[in-house]
């Protein structure tokens, strides 16, 4: 958060500004959709943009999945060695061939890839894209439900496919993201979405993909949070214990509910009981089919989260994890994957090494622990590759940094059969660049999401083009 806003932007009165946005008719949308082809019309659309706050005028996706062959490009499949001069073919949204000796189908649109590089679409393991538009305008923000326990708050049902944040991210090569609810202890159900589509359903790759828990913490790492007397310490511990107990109660209830549910499914004579959406949303979690993203940064909180995971035999994915270097054996023995990030952030303690967050990825890599990298951002998910690059600057091999935003998250979230690398049979999430995408100076030239070519425009490029014309 910018410091100048810190003082003022503590949103003390969330209700007062509701209903400012989202007023937008379908006919206007259709009009804007057809207008996009013509620059002049685009500028006309921009004239009405303020009234359409939070509504993108960029085409969401084309619906066309042509046969495409990119030839003579440097191809980085990620799961196998780079191919300096190779060809990749995809058709009907699926990759059909990658290699040096690849037949080009007669109907293929051929892209000369000479001097260009081809990468799989990048995957951000933690964002709020689709759930927020203007952070200070509550009417446009759907990240945080009231209360502590919201396992049935589902990101997938609240994603705005016309958010201006989506094109901004995808034209820098980010093709899919985890979108997560925030706040409370059990924040809700994460969704893995592609950054293209006209409806939330079209965007979802997998949902729910994980239950998101922000594990209770006794206090922050800030010196100011150290209790000043015994009474304060007692109170802090009481609140903390109550929170963990509340979480434990919820999971016990969910276990019982799941058990009852199974019993009735097997035997109709079991007495009928009312459905409970909250507990129902946790059946897959307590039965170990759905992972839990446990967000915890400090050593004490990570240990508590791991113990909690043990207690309920959960499939834990640790997230945030600033202190992960202090719990390596515990993580390793449980074979738990870790989502690091944001990397471009400050360490929590004054006496932490200045490069703690840059170095954590190397620590995990050296110890053979699976990990992925998240931006934890919304408006600047486009900077995901630079979070990964910072890890490489501090010792992580470059090719591993790339994996941390492609194949690793795909594996961790159980979708490696579909995304995360350039391999025959996978979705054609394909990014063409003029260099290494982890370098800021590299330009992304073309993006395909599930085989559909994405317009290389955003609200921001349109504003740019508009004001270049100002006399």
């Amino acid at each position: 958060m910018r410091r100048d806003d810190e003082m003022r932007s503590q949103i003390a009165d969330r209700g007062s500004q509701a209903g400012q946005s989202g007023v937008h008719s379908q006919s206007a949308d259709r009009h804007l959709r057809s207008a996009i082809c013509h620059l002049r019309s685009v500028f006309l659309a921009l004239l009405v943009a303020p009234a359409l706050l939070a509504q993108s005028v960029i085409v969401n996706s084309t619906g066309k999945k042509p046969t495409v062959a990119i030839t003579h490009a440097a191809i980085y499949p990620v799961t196998s060695a780079p191919i300096p001069d190779g060809t990749i073919v995809f058709s009907k949204g699926v990759i059909t061939a990658v290699g040096t000796n690849v037949a080009i189908p007669a109907d293929a649109m051929v892209i000369d890839g000479k001097g260009l590089s081809v990468y799989p679409g990048l995957i951000d393991s933690g964002t709020t894209i689709g759930l927020t538009e203007v952070d200070s305008v509550p009417g446009t923000v759907d990240t945080t439900e009231l209360g502590d326990l919201n396992p049935n708050a589902r990101a997938a049902v609240a994603i705005n496919p016309n958010s201006n944040l989506i094109p901004v991210a995808r034209i820098n090569g980010i093709t899919s993201v985890i979108t997560e609810p925030q706040g409370g202890i059990v924040s809700g159900q994460d969704a893995l979405i592609q950054l293209a589509g006209w409806t939330p359903a079209e965007m979802v790759i997998k949902a729910p993909v994980a239950l998101h828990i922000r594990f209770p913490r006794l206090r922050s790492a800030s010196f100011e949070d150290v209790p000043q007397d015994q009474e304060a310490e007692k109170n802090a511990r009481k609140v903390y214990t109550e929170q963990v107990d509340k979480l434990r109660d919820l999971f016990r209830d969910a276990q019982a509910y799941a058990k009852a549910n199974d019993a009735r499914a097997k035997d109709a004579r079991v007495q009928r009981f009312d459905r409970d959406l909250m507990l129902e949303s946790m059946i897959d979690v307590v039965e170990g089919r759905e992972p839990v993203v446990m967000h915890a940064d400090l050593e004490r909180d990570i240990r508590a989260a791991l113990a909690f995971g043990d207690e309920f035999k959960l499939k834990v994915i640790l997230a945030g994890a600033q202190d992960v270097g202090r719990v390596i054996p515990e993580i390793k023995s449980r074979n738990i994957p870790v989502i690091l990030g944001p990397i471009l952030a400050l360490p929590q303690r004054e006496d932490d090494p200045y490069d703690l967050l840059f170095s954590n990825a190397k620590t995990l890599y050296d110890n053979g622990i699976r990990f992925a990298i998240q931006s934890s951002d919304s408006h600047n998910v486009r900077n995901l590759p630079y979070h990964a690059a910072a890890c490489a600057a501090f010792g992580l091999p470059k090719d591993v940094a790339l994996k941390a935003i492609t194949i690793f998250p795909a594996e961790i979230f159980g979708v490696a059969d579909r995304v995360g690398s350039l391999e025959a049979g996978k979705r054609a999430d394909v990014v063409i660049t003029d260099g290494d995408p982890l370098e800021i100076r590299t330009n992304v030239k073309r993006v395909f999401i599930a085989g559909e070519e994405i317009p290389m425009d955003s609200y921001q490029t349109l504003l740019y083009k508009k004001f270049l014309q100002k006399p």
């Binding site: 003022r8 932007s9 949103i11 000043q228 400050l346 090494p353 490069d355 840059f358 690059a389 590299t442």
Partner: protein, 478 residues
Amino acid sequence: MRTANSEQRAASRRERHALASARPLAVGFAIAIAIAMSASAAQPVAAPVTVIRHATILTITKGTIPDGAVVIRGSKIDWVGPDASASLPAGARVIDATGKFVMPGIVDTHSHTAIEGGINEVSLPNTGMVRIADVLTNEDINVYRELAGGTTTALVLHGSANPIGGQSQIVKWKWGRPVSEWIVADAPRTIKFALGENPKSSNFRPPPGIPLQYPATRMGVEEVIRGAFVSARDYMAKWDEYNARKARGGNPIPPRKDLLMEEMADVLRGKVDVHAHCYREDEIMMLLNLGDEEGFKIRELQHVLEGYKVAKEIAAHGAGGGTFIDWWGFKAEAYDAIPYNVAMLVRAGVLTSVNSDSDELARRLNQDAAKAMKYGGLSEEEALKLCTINGARQLRLDHRIGSIEAGKDADLVIWTGHPLSTYSRVETTFIEGEVYFDRARDLANRQVLAQEKRDRLKKEAEEEAKSKPVKGANHETR
């Protein structure tokens, strides 16, 4: 190895927290932190002559020297040029920087680092009389972190709660030195203005019982600033009249001295540079017009997110622009922020810098500079200027900092690779010839620090056990 300074710092922090709590638990942590901070602090190495050899030198103003050398004598750059032509003074400390890059220290024209307590004096809409220089602390660890990102000079500003926030301070991040040595003595005086949502309290409501503060609209913001200058003119006229009467031999009653009016009058006299927080086109134009009408210049439009919409107008006024490059959408007035802004301002002839407004971003302004190449196509040379010489010019310190030239301050950064690459990191940061960050030294210190912290905590626990035991006290509470 610990300096008198760090001892002092430790003592003062200990004292502060001891007073606040009178609790051994808190005092223990204070000591632990103070130890940690002091050891990671610079123990500046006095080196009369240092030569950095075989580096790629990005001079900023005089091109790139592929196999170059920089000779540092005392606090100044003595010589820069091709390594082959360098003369090595006897007894010089030589740093072999083969394969590495050297650039000038990064200049951050928008910082809130090292401000003790709050950054806003929120009690009045115009607090132009209050001074950042009075509330700087040398205990903010972010100073050290920024040095580790190559940042050496900063304009430390008040926040943007008020249309007129207060007097800013230009400093060099001489971590481990007393604050009095941070102040750049010959730097211009500066004042912070703020427009838009923050001074009109759009995203903030005071707690119950506290009245809303004027202004609540951009109209009110304009009125507060204009009113201040109208009052300053009256104030100046009163003094002129008094002085004239006195000169004629009269015995007039002197006007009352007013610290705020003195400051505003000095803005009108051109003695104080205005740095104005602004986002939207309309408020930018409002302030430029107001300046023209009331007779003062805007030195730097801060953030200036919609500057690209009125770039020519900004250039015509002669104002500079400084901004973070790609943050947007965090509030309504930042919704039209685009990363192309910087390139468009540069192309329009506006003196433009990238700055941080953030302890975090202040560690990697080189990356914001690189983004101006990606978004809008600035050249490498233009991009590097954004975080060095351009900021120095905005701060009127380009005779001392912002480029590698003989005679300038030896504020230098050695990088492992090109500073516009995301894979590069800082090896060493010099300010005025002294090393304030060195990665090798930082790494070497870590084990020592960790052991010292363990020892102290153990000792404290033993002492506590001997006296009154604290139930529930946990030394891993942090």
